[in-house]
């Protein structure tokens, strides 16, 4: 039994080292902006490799629980868990972050001396996001959540010269802190109800709930509700979504993709960790609550996306609706984990691609992206418009794209779990949602061009778009490799 091994925390260590090197470079070299970016990129790549190694080590029978208070014979109060769930989350988060950083490349180069801060914050945020998925303890999870959130608050307002940016940062900060407090209060009440903050090991929440009758069921219910609310905020599920459109609109376009996709992956993974690992016995209580949140998210996200005039806001509300669809997988309990992973992964790839296009069309520093700027994109930049169309089709859930397969899997998961009403509701909102994406496509393809200036796609962004579009179609046609992996990525 190797209690304090390096491998389980290797991704975090690598990212922190990368962050330190980026800052050091600023002292050692003259204008090391590009070099800093390369270091950050390398750190993310190394972290992804570390996650792959974790997956392989698990196949060879590596231990799952680390950094326990007492290691022998049964671990008590482990802090870090290394399982297929966390390894899969790691690979997805790091790859998506690399893509997100590639989109932000231009932004990084124009930031000058502040680029080191920017890159450091990105690396810390990503480390926090992964920590959320690999923690074996509520408090660890909370620390990961805050590490990521605090870095993201700053990133949201990073382009200071624009007035909207600081407004986005303040909103994100105030509401995000509120959600964090709600979450940690839930953790405290869970501790009060079960006598543990640990998910695994001797005396963990799961063990307690499996073996005892809770003395104060009301406190347990309140705790679960608060934890769900806290995480719902992070994944922009309704009615805790209202920050998202404003923050996406105010934050620099170059980084919104990373914010939107990364936080969703980690948020869902963390929610899944808590519900599937710590509270599986309470599924009859939390599943209906999630179903209601899912339904509300689909309706509110879809309806509000239909009336927006800014592409970033449309995408934000579309994200709310998609959060609802992903939550559908949760109501199926363990059976839904594979669907959840598939949906989250493919959605994240698509979202990165979509926001990359936004960054090209409206500029990577800018905030808003009014529909008018998109008019006639197909004649100004046909390839870009087609790539965007592919991704819109995926968001809409049209067959032969990942979006369709993802929707089918979560819909079946919910139906199998007996939530037929939720599935039918999802179906209706999906069809209404077609209008949302179709409207944007129509603006791009059917209206006259908005201007004559050439649309320049930076090479790094082009690469990201190629990856996003190819995976969207390829995994839509041949989903099994990813589906099989996703089904294997179960929490301990």
């Amino acid at each position: 039994m190797n209690n304090a091994a390096l491998l389980p925390i290797a991704p975090e260590v690598i990212l922190l080292a990368g962050a330190l090197i980026v800052i050091l470079l600023l002292v050692l070299l003259d204008r090391p902006y590009r070099e800093g970016g390369i270091v950050a990129m390398a750190a993310l790549a190394a972290a992804a490799v570390a996650s792959v190694l974790q997956w392989q080590a698990l196949g060879d029978g590596a231990d799952n629980l680390y950094f326990s208070a007492q290691g022998v014979p049964v671990p008590r109060l482990p802090m870090v868990v290394m399982d297929h769930y966390s390894a899969f989350a790691g690979v997805v988060i790091f790859v998506v972050s690399m893509l997100g950083l590639a989109v932000a490349w231009r932004l990084v180069l124009t930031l000058g001396a502040r680029s080191a801060e920017f890159l450091t914050l990105v690396l810390l945020a990503v480390a926090g996001l992964h920590m959320m998925t690999a923690s074996a303890n509520m408090i660890m999870l909370f620390i990961g959540l805050e590490t990521a959130s605090i870095a993201l608050y700053v990133l949201a307002g990073f382009t200071r010269e624009r007035a909207n940016a600081d407004e986005a940062a303040v909103k994100y900060f105030l509401l995000g802190s509120l959600a964090s407090v709600v979450f940690v209060y839930g953790a405290a009440l869970l501790f009060a109800a079960t006598g543990s903050t640990a998910f695994y090991g001797a005396g963990s929440m799961r063990e307690f709930l499996a073996e005892n009758i809770v003395a104060e069921p009301a406190i347990l219910l309140l705790a679960m509700g608060l934890v769900i609310v806290g995480m719902s905020f992070k994944v922009t599920a309704a009615p805790f979504h209202q920050w998202a459109p404003d923050v996406y609109q105010g934050a620099p376009s170059g980084i919104v993709g990373l914010m939107a996709a990364g936080v969703k992956i980690a948020g869902f993974a963390a929610l899944g960790r808590i519900l599937f690992s710590a509270l599986p016995s309470q599924i009859d209580d939390w599943a209906p609550a999630l179903a209601i949140i899912a339904g509300a998210s689909m309706i509110i996200g879809t309806v509000l996306a239909a009336v927006q005039d800014d592409v970033k806001r449309i995408l934000a509300y579309s994200g709310v609706a998609h959060a609802g669809y992903i939550l559908m997988a949760f109501v199926a309990g363990n059976e839904g984990i594979g669907s959840m992973w598939f949906y989250v992964t493919t959605y994240a790839l698509t979202v990165i691609g979509v926001f990359a296009v936004v960054a090209v069309v409206s500029g990577s520093r800018s905030g808003s992206s009014p529909l008018a700027e998109w008019s006639g994109l197909s004649s100004r930049a046909p390839v870009l418009a087609w790539v965007m169309l592919i991704m819109l089709l995926a968001l809409a859930g049209i067959p032969f794209t990942t979006g369709f397969v993802a929707k089918v899997t979560v819909f079946t998961a919910a139906t199998d779990a007996g939530y037929l009403w939720l599935m039918i509701l999802a179906l209706v909102t999906t069809i209404v949602g077609l209008y949302v994406y179709f409207r944007l496509a129509a603006v791009m393809f059917l209206e006259g061009p908005a201007g004559v200036e050439e649309v320049v796609v930076p090479p790094t962004t082009a690469l990201v778009l190629a990856v996003a579009a190819v995976t969207t179609v390829l995994l839509g046609l041949l989903p099994w490799p990813l589906l099989d992996l996703a089904r294997e990525a179960l929490p301990l």
Partner: protein, 623 residues
């Protein structure tokens, strides 16, 4: 051999991919020739596959390609049976002729290559729909034909009307598609599979009447959208904004018949739901009559044909509603020939008079365009139902079947007869206004006969329109026998035998001749003034669009906006912004009561949290 069935779909698909990407480079006319050649080849291959089915040596076959969504047991597999063969031959055959015609018609268009790319895409999609062996693949084809139809309607997107028509078709069809989707869901819930064979085998024993009625009604909703029946027909007349070959191919001969095909394909399910069948037949008969009255009043030649198509589709729907599936498919085939011919002829006429579509500005084209005129005469007599042309046989079979169905359906038969009378009338009106009388062309137009590339397809279609009746006359039920394997286990309504059928046929013929005579008497000498009253209402389509706008669209929009404002808490903001700058100071003084955004968001979060907690406690039984 039949393992290569997928080639039929792949050929036009390759063409579509090549032409959408390289269309500009390949250019005019080679992109058109390439597209036509691919569709022609597909037709020949399909004909080859059909031979064993005709000689009786073949039997329906399922060709499995690959497993697509293994979890749900969804396979991508194709089905080759007489019904699919018939549709494939119509789609590729008529499609090929229209492609050839379009090479001439679209000559000189800026996006010539792109056009043929879309046309090939449509053929590939339609073949996917037709050849599907399960509901999922069929639905994929169903959606893809919708997409290509949308692309082609709004092909001339610089015209606002074309772009709007494309959107309208898309949105109206979504309503139908929603029905189709939910039906798929129920089918999966009831049978646990999407495969046609498995579903149809299990349906007679495993399906309650209630479930069968629900499924078939939802399927029918899909058909109503795609086949332009009341109340969702409104998109089809507007779809005439597309280029004329598109109207001929998609909005007359093939795509709009997908609904009829789908009902015929799922005949087993419909057979289990008598209530649905009554609805289907009623909607069909009502559409046939309603659209015929609208066709009478149109001045735009293409809109006459559009409403005529809706009316004829109504006949087909009525046919499947009285379980005369073969009759429905038969009329589908003959209609594909003569309606494609009418549209292509109309296209030639429109070309000749420099894009004018108003029939009151045509006239006297008979002498100038003899080939177009005589081919159109064939189509006119065929659609009017004059023996022995094809339309007579197919329409008569439908009406006879409705009559034989008895009871309430005799009333529908009567409606069908009245619609037949109106059909003969408005087609005569179209012919005389266009070709007869004196020249009323716009100034400076020198009309002349169309070039051979346009007229050759017309002549071929005219021959088919005249003779296609022989496939299924009461004396020789060829199509009936051919389609038998596809309708195994389905009880079909056959036309009555003996003297009754002869009497009905004679009556139909008389009605057609009366209609023609009525039109002749009204239009042959002078142009009557057709304004106000019925004519004014008909030109405006009885203002149905307007009413839809008021009753459905506007409240829907208002609700969405209202919901948006309530949910986003910006009512006050909206008021402040709306009242404008002058009142801004007033708004500022009100800011004490106006909730700030961050705090409003916080309040919604808090309310949501409290609501969730309360609900958890309540459902946990702790309150």
């Amino acid at each position: 051999m039949i393992d290569y069935l997928w080639v039929l779909i792949v050929l036009p698909l390759l063409g579509a991919a090549a032409l959408i990407v390289f269309g500009k480079r390949i250019g005019d006319p080679w992109s058109g020739r390439l597209a036509s050649a691919l569709v022609g080849t597909a037709f020949l291959i399909a004909a080859g596959f059909t031979v064993p089915l005709v000689t009786g040596n073949g039997h329906p076959e399922t060709v499995e390609l690959f497993s697509w969504i293994p979890v749900l047991g969804v396979e991508v597999s194709l089905l080759w049976d007489p019904l699919a063969a018939l549709m494939t031959l119509i789609v590729t055959g008529v499609g090929f002729l229209i492609h050839v015609y379009a090479v001439g018609y679209m000559h000189g268009d800026e996006r010539f290559g792109r056009f043929f790319g879309y046309m090939n895409l449509f053929i590939a999609s339609m073949l996917t729909l037709v050849l599907a062996s399960n509901f999922v693949v069929m639905f994929v084809g169903w959606e893809l034909v919708g997409l290509s139809s949308y692309l082609l309607i709004s092909f001339w997107f610089v015209r606002p009307a074309a772009s709007a028509a494309g959107k309208k078709a898309f949105i109206v069809n979504r309503i139908g598609d929603w029905g189709f989707l939910v039906a798929l869901l129920l089918i999966f819930a009831a049978f646990g599979t999407f495969e046609f064979a498995a579903v149809f085998a299990e349906a007679p024993t495993g399906l309650t009447t209630g479930m069968a009625t629900a499924i078939t009604l939802l399927l029918f909703l899909g058909a109503v959208g795609k086949s332009a029946q009341i109340p969702l027909y409104v998109w089809l007349p507007d779809a005439m904004e597309g280029p004329t070959p598109v109207s001929a191919l998609i909005h007359a001969a093939t795509m709009v018949t997908a609904g009829i095909y789908m009902i015929a394909r799922t005949a087993v399910l419909f057979g289990l739901a008598p209530a649905t069948l009554t609805v289907v037949a009623t909607v069909g008969a009502a559409t046939a009559l309603f659209a015929a009255t609208l066709a009478m009043g149109q001045r735009d030649i293409k809109r006459v044909l559009a409403y005529s198509t809706i009316s004829q589709l109504g006949y087909m729907v009525m046919a499947v509603g009285v379980t005369a599936f073969t009759a429905g498919m038969f009329h589908l085939m003959t209609h594909a020939f003569f309606k494609a011919l009418l549209f292509l002829g109309a296209g030639a006429v429109i070309h000749a008079v420099a894009g004018e579509q108003d029939m009151s500005r045509m006239g006297g084209l008979r002498k100038v365009m003899p080939i177009t005129f005589w081919t159109m005469v064939v189509a006119w007599l065929a659609i009017a139902g004059v023996a022995p042309l094809s339309g007579f046989w197919s329409k008569d079979e439908i009406l006879a079947a409705a009559f034989a169905h008895g009871g309430y359906f005799v009333f529908l038969w009567a409606i069908g007869v009245v619609a037949a009378l109106l059909t003969a009338f408005y087609m005569t009106r179209l012919m005389i206004l266009t070709f007869g009388g004196e020249e009323r062309w716009p100034d400076g137009v020198e009309a002349s006969e169309a070039p051979p590339i346009l007229t050759v397809p017309l002549v071929i279609l005219a021959v088919l329109s005249a003779t296609a009746g022989i496939f299924n006359t009461p004396f020789r039920l060829g199509l009936e026998h051919f389609l038998e394997p596809s309708f195994e286990g389905v009880t079909q309504q056959l036309p009555p035998a003996g003297a009754t059928v002869v009497a009905l046929a004679a009556l139909a013929l008389v009605v057609a001749l009366v209609g023609i005579f009525w039109g002749w008497a009204r239009y042959s000498r002078r142009l009557p003034v057709e304004e106000g009253g019925f004519w004014g209402a008909a030109v405006e389509g009885y203002r149905v669009d307007d009413w839809y706008g008021r009753l459905v669209v506007a409240p829907g929009k208002a609700m969405a906006t209202w919901a948006a404002e309530i949910l986003d808490g910006r009512i006050i903001d909206g008021v402040v912004n709306g009242v404008g700058g002058g009142v801004k100071s007033f708004g500022n003084s009100l800011s004490g009561t106006q909730s700030g955004l961050v705090r409003w968001y916080g309040a919604v979060m808090a309310a949501g949290t409290l609501g969730l907690l309360l609900w958890l406690l309540l459902s946990g039984g702790l309150f």
